[in-house]
């Protein structure tokens, strides 16, 4: 037995560069697919797809308002497989955002974010933010009506940053409107600064996983080890191939959208931000822009960065939803949040109108602080009720609040993406 493991070890050590990522042996529990669903690995695969297709596109794209749209048309119509390459870039870009988000959820729900893993949680959030901004900067490049107005609306949100908002928006756009300088800035971020930063942070991210002795697993399952090759490597390969096949299928059957050439003088109706910002745009329908576009997102981000620094009584590492109670609380939070968010949106759309009821007050109060305060009170009340009914420990309580807020953002996004028609009126898709 001992001899064979030594032989296997030697064989593994002799393997190529890929195994720099992994130790020669890994705990059997850590390669169970349903522990991680391979989400981190999938993100890495999508990144590689993005790099390859992005480099190809970069040879044919020209980042000026005059030529950008035509160069995309030319890629689609004059280049063999041009449309396919663009489609792969489009779909894996979308999946990249979704999968990294799911990866973040997985890390949270299996309790893999505190103690020695806390810095990797923060690097992970930085990566997630960069992935979103990679997608966002790429959104402008086709220079069609969809791109132009989505970026106009999104960058206009910066105007509401107190004090320096206008300067900030001007700086990001390189001028007072979205124009040639904006395109060049976004192009540079999209094809150089962000991918390079992503590579650096990803290396750090992977290295930290190894420093933490692999992915999170329950303490009692740490002893049984298996060789990385073939046990882990084969699973990774299968996951990667299935993912690539899925992206390919999507790209064969669904073309990346391309609307009319950008026209700065004419806004289509409705204008929507990129889908991952639609939750924020939906908030804009209900709150003063300072609250919707600045305060709430900043608090949200600060909250998830702060998460691993909360002092938890006992660890629940490597178990989905931590405990039996945690499972129940996750379901409860999702349900309450789903109904509550939907109800609040409908109520605000058809009944509540603080702005005209309290027209003497500034909109910052009537449409900002007052509804936001009411929501906080409702959330506080819910937490109090949950505390009384379920008596959760601290980590279960955090799980409840996290689930509540995430579900809320998902509901807002879904409403914004599919249930807002012309004039941003609520309507069926």
């Amino acid at each position: 037995m001992e001899e064979t493991t030594i032989r296997q070890k030697k064989k593994v050590r002799a393997r190529n560069l890929i195994l720099h990522l992994h130790p020669p042996m890994v705990p059997r529990a850590s390669i169970r697919f349903t522990l991680t669903f391979g989400l981190g690995g999938m993100s890495a695969v999508l990144f590689i797809l993005q790099v390859f297709t992005g480099i190809l596109l970069r040879f044919l794209y020209s980042p000026t308002p005059n030529d950008a749209y035509d160069s995309i048309l030319s890629v689609e119509n004059n280049i063999l497989f041009g449309q396919l390459v663009r489609n792969i870039h489009h779909w894996s870009g979308i999946l990249f955002v979704i999968i990294t988000f799911l990866h973040l959820l997985r890390t949270f729900y299996t309790g893999a974010f505190y103690w020695k893993r806390r810095w990797n949680w923060i690097i992970g959030i930085a990566l997630m933010v960069i992935v979103i901004f990679s997608n966002f900067t790429g959104y402008l490049l086709p220079w069609d009506q969809l791109a132009y107005w989505a970026v106009t609306v999104s960058t206009s949100m910066l105007n509401y940053f107190p004090g320096i908002g206008e300067q900030l928006a001007t700086f990001v756009r390189g001028g007072s409107d979205v124009g040639a300088p904006t395109l060049l800035i976004f192009y540079n971020f999209h094809t150089a600064i962000l991918p390079v930063t992503l590579v650096l942070l990803m290396s750090f991210h992977f290295w930290r996983v190894r420093k933490n002795k692999g992915v999170v697993i329950p303490e009692q399952e740490k002893s049984e080890m298996v060789p990385t090759d073939p046990f882990l490597v084969s699973k990774e390969l299968v996951t990667a191939l299935v993912l690539i096949a899925f992206v390919l299928l999507l790209s064969i059957f669904f073309d990346a959208p391309l609307r009319e050439r950008a026209d700065p003088a004419f806004s289509p109706n409705p204008v929507k931000a990129p889908w991952y910002f639609m939750g924020i745009q939906e908030l804009l329908m209900h709150f003063h822009p300072f609250f919707a576009a600045i305060l709430i997102p900043v608090l949200f981000l600060a909250g998830i960065i702060w998460l691993p620094f909360i002092k938890f009584q006992k660890p629940h590492e490597g178990i989905w939803f931590l405990t039996q109670k945690g499972k129940k609380l996750a379901v409860t939070a999702s349900l309450i949040s789903f109904v509550g968010t939907l109800g609040a949106v409908l109520l605000d759309e058809y009944v509540i109108d603080f702005e005209s009821w309290l027209s003497d007050l500034s909109p910052l109060l009537s449409n900002g602080l007052i509804p936001f305060g009411i929501l906080l009170i409702i959330l506080g009340g819910t937490i109090w009720l949950i505390k009384k009914r379920y008596n959760p420990d601290k980590s279960e309580m955090v799980l409840f609040i996290f689930t509540f807020l995430m579900m809320s953002y998902v509901v807002l996004s879904v409403i914004g993406i599919w249930f807002r028609g012309p004039g941003m009126v609520l309507s069926w898709p």
């Binding site: 206009s156 001007t170 756009r173 409107d177 804009l284 004039g423």
Partner: protein, 167 residues
Amino acid sequence: MKIQKQHKEKLNRRSFLKRAWAWLGVIAGIELAAVAFNFLSVGKRKSKHLNPALIKSAGIIESIPPGSVIPFKSGHFYLVRMDDGGFLALSLACTHLGCAISFDGSKKEFICPCHSSVFDMTGNVLKPPAPRALDTYRVFIEGGEVKIDTSKKIRRRGFSIADLVYA
């Protein structure tokens, strides 16, 4: 280590040079940051100089009847002439999130397609969510010709009679 600690209080040649290097490094860092910042704010600086291409002409005064609104989509503005003959150049960009407003001739109102803000002919908000009146561009009259300087947007809370330019 111990020897260094003993001499910590005194500023000898070695520690002085070390400190000097560190400060030089900081200064060099600031200089580089300033260069980079300057580089990146090029777009903003351009607007300080009057670029002749950014001056748009709307034709002679007499060609624009009072009470009319003329779109100059290439210049990104509407030229408004009030009933009393005053000129006003309103930016196309809605003050809420920057969508391009369109003019409804029958109601004499500007409407934003994105979140249905409504503005009157002076640019004042008739219906939120837009938080303030439409931005304006400077209008001036040169040799009987109405000209608009589109190099700089002028922000304002609401319309005042001083915004109007008369021949």
